[in-house]
Amino acid sequence: MISTRRRLIEDRLLQSMGILLLLLALIALAALVVDVVRDGVPRLSWAFITGFPSRFAESAGIWHALVGSVFVIGLTAAIALPLGVGAAVYLEEYSEGGRLSRLIEINISNLAGVPSIIYGLLGLGLFVRWMGLGSSVLAGALTLSLLVLPVVILSTREALRAVPKSLREGSYALGATKWQTVWTQVLPSALAGILTGLILALSRAIGETAPLITLGALTYVAFTPDSIWSPFTVLPIQIFNWVSRPQAAFAENAAAGIVVLLVLLVAMNAVAIVLRDRFQRDRIA
């Protein structure tokens, strides 16, 4: 038998190691953020946020890319949510677990690991060329939807699975149909989990550059997209563009752009947390 003392020491050791590793990760992240903020914040101003691109670093702004990012991500959410939730509801609630649905499941898991540039190529071939959508906001959003769809489906299934069986049985026992049970009991209970998954997936998509460049999103636009057919650019592309310039002033712009992107990301994650808490409180209280 292992002595109690030894087990206690092992326990402590493991705990300290865990904390150490966590700190390492946090320090790396903090260093990165501090560096970017130090470079970028002095450049931040209202004029920068509401300005348009320019050949001159001092007068260049980021408004077009910010609007482009929000527009594309909003549209992505609108496309990916119904598709992803629908697919997950089918797989989790309706499918009988036959060979076809197993095949679909394996494919979805695999799709979640496909490099994003492949989605870009798919989007270029399918949406831009074949469907003739051009390098528009719609083509970008459709491509990003494909990118986040596997994650949305997986996290939605996870949320649906977490809904207790007793809730479904209670509903069925009152003569509810499957659809009534799913719509009135299961989905509301899973909503917090679904939205959290969606927002986390979207916050990955908002940082994506490769697939949108592949699609032909512009690196220089002097206007904000005003419809789903407009050409557009997004924050990461604009940042990428600035970083690749030789002048130091553009590097500052890039840092400021990163700060804007980070703020957007933090805001999205905050929304996810608030939503989750609110729905959880409603369900439990």
Binding site: E169, S171, A173, T184
Partner: protein
């Protein structure tokens, strides 16, 4: 089967405070009849050749050790097992002489007629009012707001919980105590006016006082409903039921008037179980 009223033939069990109407159960019409019912979870046979008759406006209790099939059998009566993948039924279950497993049976309509209360109270995470209103709304059973309110009140009264919740109908059902939640679930089941109410160990998670309230409620409800109750608690079966079925390893060992099962069973296995020699 007939012994003089009020003088139990054997000493084994304490009788309920509420006197039984008579030792031999009143003759009412047959409500549910199963014929050679077999049930499988995948390859495993969970019910073996069950034939039994449940009569209207009586309380019929299923007793037996864990895993004997009593809950499974209960759940075949409203086809609740349908939602478990890989299950299979053979034989017939007739309610009012119609086979509920016949092709073309409307399962949704069946479950409206045969309500169910579960072992662990499972109120929906909604208000008390909405819990009871749920069945009425999804089935479109009421045509106006006033009618809905009336039916909810009527159901809560029938489940003997109205006085405790009438001032807090908008509060979440999760705020109720365990016993109150279970009575709310009974109210919810009664709201859609079923003919049969199935109860799967409705009091097993409750304290003695809450249990007693549920038992009194069951006794009142049998005037209007046919009640089938699964219970682990033999005293409870003796107190509330008119007829008792004893299950063992997926088989129906003995079925008869509760009085007889508890005091003068014909099978020695039944006697061993009700006297607590095993189980």
């Amino acid at each position: 089967m007939t012994t003089p009223s009020g003088t139990p033939a054997g000493p084994a069990v304490t009788r309920p405070k509420v006197e039984h109407r008579a030792v031999d159960t009143p003759v009412t019409k047959v409500k549910i009849e199963t014929e050679r019912l077999n049930f499988y979870y995948g390859e495993k046979k969970a019910l073996d050749d069950i034939s039994l008759t449940i009569r209207a406006n009586l309380v019929t209790a299923f007793i037996g050790p864990s895993g004997c099939g009593k809950s499974t059998f209960l759940r075949t009566l409203n086809r609740m097992n349908d939602i478990i993948p890989g299950t299979r039924v053979e034989g017939r279950v007739c309610i009012d002489e119609r086979d509920i497993y016949a092709a073309g049976t409307d399962v949704v309509a069946l479950r409206q007629r045969v309500g169910m209360v579960f072992q662990k109270s499972n109120p929906f995470p909604k208000s008390i009012f909405d819990n009871v209103a749920y069945g009425l709304r999804i089935n479109g059973l009421v045509s106006s707001k006033g009618e809905l309110t009336d039916r909810v009140e009527e159901s809560l009264k029938a489940a003997a919980i109205w006085d405790e919740v009438k001032d807090r109908l908008k509060e979440s059902a999760n705020a109720l105590s365990g016993g109150q939640q279970q009575r709310l679930c009974i109210a919810r089941a009664l709201a859609i006016r079923p003919e049969v109410v199935l109860m799967d160990e409705p009091a097993s998670a409750l304290d003695p006082i809450a249990t007693q309230r549920i038992e009194e409620l069951i006794y009142q409800l049998k005037r209007d409903y046919t009640i089938v109750i699964v219970t682990h608690n033999m005293q409870q079966a003796a107190r509330v039921s008119d007829e008792t079925a004893f299950f063992w390893l997926g088989k129906l060992v003995e079925f008869g008037a509760t009085e007889t099962i508890f005091t003068n069973p014909s099978e020695s296995l039944t006697e061993d179980y009700v006297t607590g020699r095993f189980g």
